[in-house]
Assembly symmetry: D2
Homo-oligomer: 143 residues x 4
Amino acid sequence: MAGTGNEQHVRAMFARSDFTERLGVKLDALGDGWCETSLTTNDSHRQQHGFVHAAVLYAIADHTAGGAAGTTVPTGKDVITVENKIAYLRPALADRLRCRGEVLRTGKNLIFSESEVYAVKSGEEKLVAKLSSTLAVIENKIS
Amino acid sequence: MAGTGNEQHVRAMFARSDFTERLGVKLDALGDGWCETSLTTNDSHRQQHGFVHAAVLYAIADHTAGGAAGTTVPTGKDVITVENKIAYLRPALADRLRCRGEVLRTGKNLIFSESEVYAVKSGEEKLVAKLSSTLAVIENKIS
Amino acid sequence: MAGTGNEQHVRAMFARSDFTERLGVKLDALGDGWCETSLTTNDSHRQQHGFVHAAVLYAIADHTAGGAAGTTVPTGKDVITVENKIAYLRPALADRLRCRGEVLRTGKNLIFSESEVYAVKSGEEKLVAKLSSTLAVIENKIS
Amino acid sequence: MAGTGNEQHVRAMFARSDFTERLGVKLDALGDGWCETSLTTNDSHRQQHGFVHAAVLYAIADHTAGGAAGTTVPTGKDVITVENKIAYLRPALADRLRCRGEVLRTGKNLIFSESEVYAVKSGEEKLVAKLSSTLAVIENKIS
């Protein structure tokens, strides 16, 4: 479970984020400019129509796009979300969510990344949401 | 606690949304084309820097913009989020969040609404997030 | 036609922007954190259905949100668009467009602003587009 | 230059769009769910810093995402932009712009598509803008 300083920083980001941890977001894999996560859904993630709640899809999408961005900043730096747009492509009927984040462009002050959320149901996978993110590079104030 | 059919529908939307209810989002007031909510923050809403988590701000903003939209559809119809953009204007240091949603334009098939999230801390209030939303009008499948 | 250093900078921004000038975008008024513009439409602004083209609405909305942002930066600084979201609320049937931009939050590195585009037709005015913008503060490289 | 009914419709969309044609946007290729365009830049496309104007990048990105969407609707239908988000990843220093649009999801009423704009300069190509689009399916009113 070694990795570059950046990868270790992203692992720490996930470990310290109580909100997404309590939600059930797991960090599955990451590398330079990308990050993969997943979440096993239960009733607490669903809304009135039985679909995964828009805010749950957002939480995993935002955190994964941020994880991808975090792999590209130097040691001593951190990332913070400036804005996100999320499009809901289909209702999410899911046993499990899978998410992949990728960096489009990393700069000294700003990073642009994206993430795609897939709903996995009875072994089939469908793209249900896509997020487009702007992040700012800030000083790392944790640990 | 009477109201138009639309207002009753939005009250039902809030009552049935387990995810936002568990988060602590309260419906405070609503009228034709607008909706106001609030949330008393606790440690479970915060991220690693002590600020309210981006996904919590999103959840209240999305739900409130949706509530505002819901007040404008005829009986028998419901609304579903198509896409949202949220801008994070400042880190949210808050005892309480207050949110107001407003409809910009309501149509037969699509509704455009917005919401603003304010962080309330020691009696002072700051605008911390703004959401811009597109919603689709669908058949009401609940109740 | 005097004004603060910032106002003069925004007037210079408009004067030097050939693309929007050729399009017909006029700077009507500006103050601290806001900017108003207009455009008299002609056939060259219309698309295949006779409505003002989405890209024309975008051009005036982007430029006006940028003008509002520009009024809030110190002398020697300039602004550049990081990202925009624009929602098209109604088809724009217009003799003239009117646009107002406002700053939501101005910071050392980033500015958040918005603009609203109104279509004026036979004396009546309708909100046709709303833009939400993130801008970066950069060194002013134009004299 | 044959093609499916949809492809012919998209060719007609481009032929009838005076604004983008006057701007210099050329339709290069298209297929089911995708569209490619280009634009040879000149001084009229540049802003005060010598870069291609944000509104020009937007115009080609919007039109190409719309072209991709247009290939997926049945005969007798057309598409109209509901909202777009565009992120400006780098300043666009370009002799030529190249753009590719792709559909993420096509439905009966709504289509989600994306486009990427590349700046080509001295034979080198850089991704300079990415657009994320929601479109509505409407009746085709142009023969």
